[in-house]
Amino acid sequence: MAAGAPDATLLGGFWGGVRDVITHRSLLDLLIRRELKARYKDSSLGFVWSFIRPLTMLLIYYVAIGQFLGAARNVPQYAIFVYSGLTIWGLYNEIVAGSTMSILANAGLIKKVYVPRELFPLASIGSALFNFGIQMIVLLGAILVTGQFPLSWNLLYALAAVVMVVTYGVALALLLSAFNVYLRDIQYLVEVALLIFFWASPIVYSWTQVQTVAKNHAWVADVYLLNPMSNAILAFQKGMWEAGSKINVLKGADGKNHAVPPVDWPAHLEFRLLVLFVIGLALVYVAQRVFARLQGNFAQEI
């Protein structure tokens, strides 16, 4: 077993890092469990809290933005729509926010024992994926109840979205967790950036509404779609939110029915996803190299 730090050569280093993680996968598994167990330890409701938080969010957005601000008048099945956006965003949010803190939170271990340090951000990703699984159960339940089950090839888009989020999540997790050791401001910056990107992604408002606003300025929509998360969220909605791909008749503010056309999904969405995925993989490589370079001094900088 390697007790030392991996070598810093360029190509061999990346696979060395991956191998290191694979040989320690049972420890990774335990670290994920620890994170999950410790989170709600000593609370009597325990894992129920994992349901309560997203359900509260759903309720707030559904009532405040869907009904009071009227977003639901133009978006069919608004509850499903907003919850699918919240679910996939929640995964991303938890990965980025959780992993940024992961190295610092395990300072005690890092200073005393050598284990591949990549395990700590990866463990945060693992626990985020677990919570995502729980939310998916709620989402699928809601879809079943409303009878909107999207049994079509579009489901592959949802899968692609998850793969995308995890790819970018791994890259950001490695980068941010390492930077945060050297500059603690990163954790606050991440908080602010996540808030901005939440509203810069089509989660509580729909892609159609963005297009309506950007009708005369095509570049706005193009810039909007540069964000990999916007693409992932749109893909996830295309997969999970069946009503978005059909013509729907909704009751408007004046009480009259009006037809809402299906969402004009971005052209070549699958191609966009593929390109972004390849870029994401390159980012993971770069992030791992940066992480490997920075981790040598973790023990003394923490």
Binding site: M1, G4, G108, K112, V113, Y114, V115, N297, A299
Partner: protein, 246 residues
Amino acid sequence: MSNVPVITMNEVSKRFIIRKEKSLKERLVNFGRSRKHKEDFWALRDLTLDIEAGTTVGLIGANGSGKSTLLKVIGGIIQPTKGTVRRRGQLAALLELGAGFHPDLTGRENVFLNGAILGLSQKQIEGYFDSIVDFSEIRDFIDTQVKFYSSGMYVRLAFAIAIHVDPDVLLVDEVLAVGDEPFQKKCLDKIKEFQQEGRTIVLVTHDLTTVEEMCDRAIVLSHGQVIFDGGSVDGVAALRANFATQ
């Protein structure tokens, strides 16, 4: 067999940079003059040494002489600024007992977690579990969260896990002075058993009597450099002589 080096260090140096300012404001104000606000500190300077399999080595020296840094460099916890360290065989570091304990988890859960951190597989831990609990003598509390443990119980459990790791090289930093006297004796006996089994032990301690009794070799450090490397009794004498001159 005893001539095979398990640890080979070649001109290893470790520099710490001590920055005196941390906030952005201070950095901006001192921009350009920041060299003055950095201080280099060489914790280790050009160390070249081999540690052969089966030996027990004591690292001794005054406070701040670089003993613990050296141990951490050997263990791969920090990387040297210059030079290379090569290691063979499985290595376990007892730098601080219970470093991987999570206060909210029970003793049982922590045995599995800490064992995995120290390099044991799940199966091995299951096999050793009873033996670990017996050694620690805290069976009644094994399903209690460790935050409720007394410090003695804490180190007992941690030590019990650590000695079951079955390493070829054991790095020990000042952790033998734990628990009550019978438990300390038990720990020392276990270390002696390790010696007899031909394992390599690198020990950092201020307890010079232990070094004289247990080590075959002493390395005396002063300001990051080796000032003596040889027999343990001579090494302790050299350190005492060094203390006297200061």
